[in-house]
């Protein structure tokens, strides 16, 4: 082993039993105990199903939403919302805004979100999260409804996004509810593969295998149906231990998200789409600062006043460039505008208030002097407290930020938090806190993953999907709503599903694969393998691609599989988990390269720059390119982007939802 730093032998603190088999039976098996998995588990258990959750970390806090959430999207059925689900479907389609619904978005998960987001939030309230302004801290604020005490973010007229009081404790509350309902939780178990009827690819999914990350024991989970609630793969392009967050995933995605869900579904024959989609993203990492932990004007920090080094205020403007003088003007649509979405994304009709769009040029000319600061002291008291105490105080990974900064003496009543210092052009991008540094061309919210139908069922019988592993991805509220919906559908399926025995050969094959790194006594460590894979992705599947680079990348990955993969070794169950993750990352890298090859066109929406097909979004390519494995061959197919409104589906969202929602 080249890495000598751990050669000082200290006994592993947990009993180690590599290969010892544990068999678990359930009606419904939930893979991944994050936000989607918890909502799915609770909803399935409430309907009487015997539920098992498999989680690589610990359900009490794991997943990208494990440390909290500050605001809840799509709450259109709340009593104060001025937009209905039907109207919102029309609006987001017209807006074509990336985050909400680009032309490659999915109407199924959007419609489910809009119908059930507020119900999911009411569930969370029942499980013990205050949600509303229960202590009357914000009485009289412009963003509060005095009757319901619901608090809203961004658009104070339309009131469809809710600020969540106490959102930081959301996983703790869900964990408690799951235990109350008798859900069986297997923490520290990494799901490694799907089990199928007869051990065959493209057959019904009847369970999964798992590896205990502390003891090295093996798990065979048998179930009538499985719901894939894992996250989309991250950290495929970046691996740096110098930068905080291990994988360079300093922002919104749990570093355990190596892509097992995507990879195991792929091996079982699931249909994937948008794996070629890439963009510098939320999880861009690199030189990033603590998420939401530097001065900002976006998202959690909306709509903070920003000043330059000399205290000169940077104006906020409406969509037409008209300066908005009062702070309160930043929270309303322009005169005559139906609704705004944050920033200037998508169609002009929906552009929201923003800082002057030519800020980069004006910094270059010397009109504004770096560094910039978030001028919290100048904000009205309710807005200041909402940004710092309510939003930063509860968003994922920022409760600790609140405590750490306060402990260091930061006082939002007196202090202006510095904004990242970056090259001027970066101040034109959004959001600032992740804008600059080594790029990761894929990440949280961007999607790429499993294709599904109006039952949130995949092309494999018995396999349902929720949250980020769907090909469109989503945020906290999307994970919550698709989790509860998928649970309803899976429960119905299990009521008539046959019991099928596990194929022993399939289990043995998987054990052979998973334990290979602990059978070796010398070789390379997982970290070298992971770093190497990330470099291959940067080199051959980076911002600009062509057939030659992609094929060369595939050749490199194939060669690494033959050589380094058969030499990777692990000295304890934790290292074994990370080594197996590298095998996952290799498979994910191959899928991304194959998907990038299959779309023979550049696309602005998909962030795909093909040097050999430079025409951007040419007619004929506005479609989903799908990939699936058939034996060892990759089958490329296609679907219309709105397949969910095409036959055999009904032609309207409402009718499809009525037929399928199970309510």
């Amino acid at each position: 082993m080249r890495d000598s730093s751990l050669n000082r032998a200290v006994e592993w603190p947990y009993p180690v039993n590599y290969g010892r088999e544990n068999e678990v039976d359930a009606d419904i098996l939930i893979l991944g105990g994050g936000v989607a998995g918890c909502h799915a588990a609770i909803n399935a258990a409430k309907r009487g199903a015997k539920v098992t959750v498999v989680e690589k970390g610990a359900v009490i806090r794991s997943g990208s939403g494990g440390a909290g959430v500050d605001h809840w999207h799509g709450a259109l059925t709340n009593p104060c919302s001025r937009i209905t689900p039907e109207e919102m479907m029309e609006l987001i389609k017209k807006s074509n805004a990336e985050y909400l619904f680009s032309e490659y978005g999915n109407g199924i998960t959007s419609y489910i979100l809009f119908q059930e987001s507020y119900d999911a939030l009411l569930d969370v309230e029942k499980w013990g999260i205050p949600v509303r302004d229960v202590n009357d801290e914000f009485a009289g604020a412009e963003f509060i409804d005095e009757n319901s005490k619901l608090m809203f973010a961004y658009d104070y007229d339309n009131r469809h996004i809710i600020r969540v009081n106490g959102g930081s404790g959301i996983k703790v509350a869900m964990h408690k509810e799951m235990k109350r309902l008798g859900v069986k939780i297997y923490d520290r178990v990494m799901a490694t593969s799907l089990l199928t009827e007869g051990g065959k690819q493209r057959s019904r999914v009847i369970g999964a295998t798992g590896l205990h990350t502390r003891t090295g024991e093996f798990y065979v989970f048998k179930a009538k149906a499985a719901i894939l609630c894992t996250n989309a793969p991250i950290g495929i392009w970046i691996f740096s231990t110098e930068l905080a967050g291990s994988a360079g995933t300093v922002t919104n995605a749990d570093p355990n998200n190596s892509g097992e869900g995507t990879a195991m579904a792929w091996q079982a024959g699931a249909e994937l789409a948008l794996m070629e989609r890439s963009a510098t993203s939320f999880a861009s990492g690199g030189f990033a600062y603590p998420a939401f932990g530097t001065g900002n004007a976006h998202d959690t920090w909306y709509a903070c006043t920003i000043v330059d080094a000399n205290g000169k205020e940077i104006p906020w403007v409406d969509r037409d460039g008209k300066v908005l003088k009062a702070v309160s003007e930043r929270y309303h649509p322009a005169p005559g505008q139906r609704v705004f979405f944050q920033g200037r994304r998508g169609a002009y009709e929906f552009w929201g208030p923003s800082l002057i769009p030519d800020l980069p040029e004006r910094i270059m000319k010397g009109e504004y002097v770096l560094p910039l600061y978030a001028d919290l002291p100048s904000m009205p008291e309710h807005e200041r407290r909402a940004i710092w105490g309510l939003m930063v105080g509860n968003e994922g990974k920022t409760r600790i930020l609140y405590h750490t900064y306060q402990q260091a003496g930061f006082d939002p009543d007196k202090d202006m938090l510095q904004v990242n210092v970056m090259p001027p052009d970066q101040y034109g991008f959004y959001p600032w806190w992740t804008s600059y540094g080594p790029r990761q061309w894929r990440g949280g919210f961007l999607g790429g993953g499993l294709v599904f139908d109006w039952d949130l069922k995949t092309n494999l019988e018995g396999l349902y999907v929720a949250g980020e592993t769907t090909y469109v991805g989503g945020d906290h509220a999307v994970a919550a709503t698709t989790g509860r919906y998928a649970a309803r559908k899976a429960v119905v399926y299990t009521q008539t599903a046959r019991e099928v025995p596990v194929n022993k050969k399939q289990v043995e094959r998987e054990k052979e694969r998973v334990y290979a790194p602990v059978r070796r006594t010398e070789g390379i460590g997982w970290r070298e393998l992971r770093a190497g894979l990330a470099r291959i992705m940067q080199d051959y599947c980076g911002e600009y691609k062509n057939e030659e680079t992609l094929n060369m990348g595939l050749r490199w990955l194939d060669s690494i599989r033959e050589s380094e993969v058969s030499r990777v070794c692990a000295r304890n169950p934790h290292e074994l988990m990370r080594a197996v993750e590298c095998l996952t990352r290799l498979t994910v890298g191959e899928i991304i390269m194959q998907a990038s090859l299959a779309r023979k066109a550049s696309s602005r929406f998909l962030g795909l720059n093909r040097l050999d097909y430079p025409v951007v979004d040419p007619p004929g390519w506005k479609k989903l390119v799908t990939l699936r494995l058939e034996n060892e061959d990759i089958k490329v197919g296609e679907r219309p982007v709105d397949y969910y409104l095409q036959p055999p589906n009904a032609s309207s969202y409402a009718e499809n939802y009525r037929q399928h929602c199970g309510l």
């Binding site: 603190p13 610990a58 440390a67 009081n165 930081s168 231990t241 603590p290 105490g389 306060q406």
Partner: protein, 117 residues
């Protein structure tokens, strides 16, 4: 000055991430139980502070500190490469996390302090 020197391998990461105060820690391992990436491993000696074994895998989510039942026994620190600073508006003084002689702590709690214990 010490006269002895040791051969010590370079750490895997420059970041310390988690500090455990051995005097305050009761060795209850709550932090070990909530950490998503097993940054912390239990001490082989029962009742002693856990070992910060994999700081390079820390996500800086802060849940270990949030759940610790002993105030001050565990703290999460943003590493130096995350360089956070602010300016006091009235006086123009500049502060940063980790500075010598910091201003006194601000004790106002966040909205909706969660019951985690």
């Amino acid at each position: 000055m010490y006269s002895k020197a040791y051969m010590v391998p370079n750490p895997m990461t420059p970041n310390q991430a988690i500090f455990v105060d051995e005097k305050l820690c009761t060795g209850c391992n709550t932090c070990v139980d909530v950490c998503r990436t097993d940054v912390l491993l239990p001490n082989l000696e029962e009742g002693r502070a856990p070992i910060v074994m994999y700081p390079d895998e820390c996500w800086f989510c802060g849940c270990c500190a949030e759940h610790c039942p002993m105030p001050g026994a565990i703290r999460m620190e943003y590493p130096l490469n995350q360089r956070v600073g602010w300016k006091r508006k009235e006086t123009g003084e500049y502060f940063r996390i980790g500075m010598k002689n910091p201003p006194p702590p601000n004790t106002r709690p966040p909205v909706g302090e969660a019951e985690v214990h």
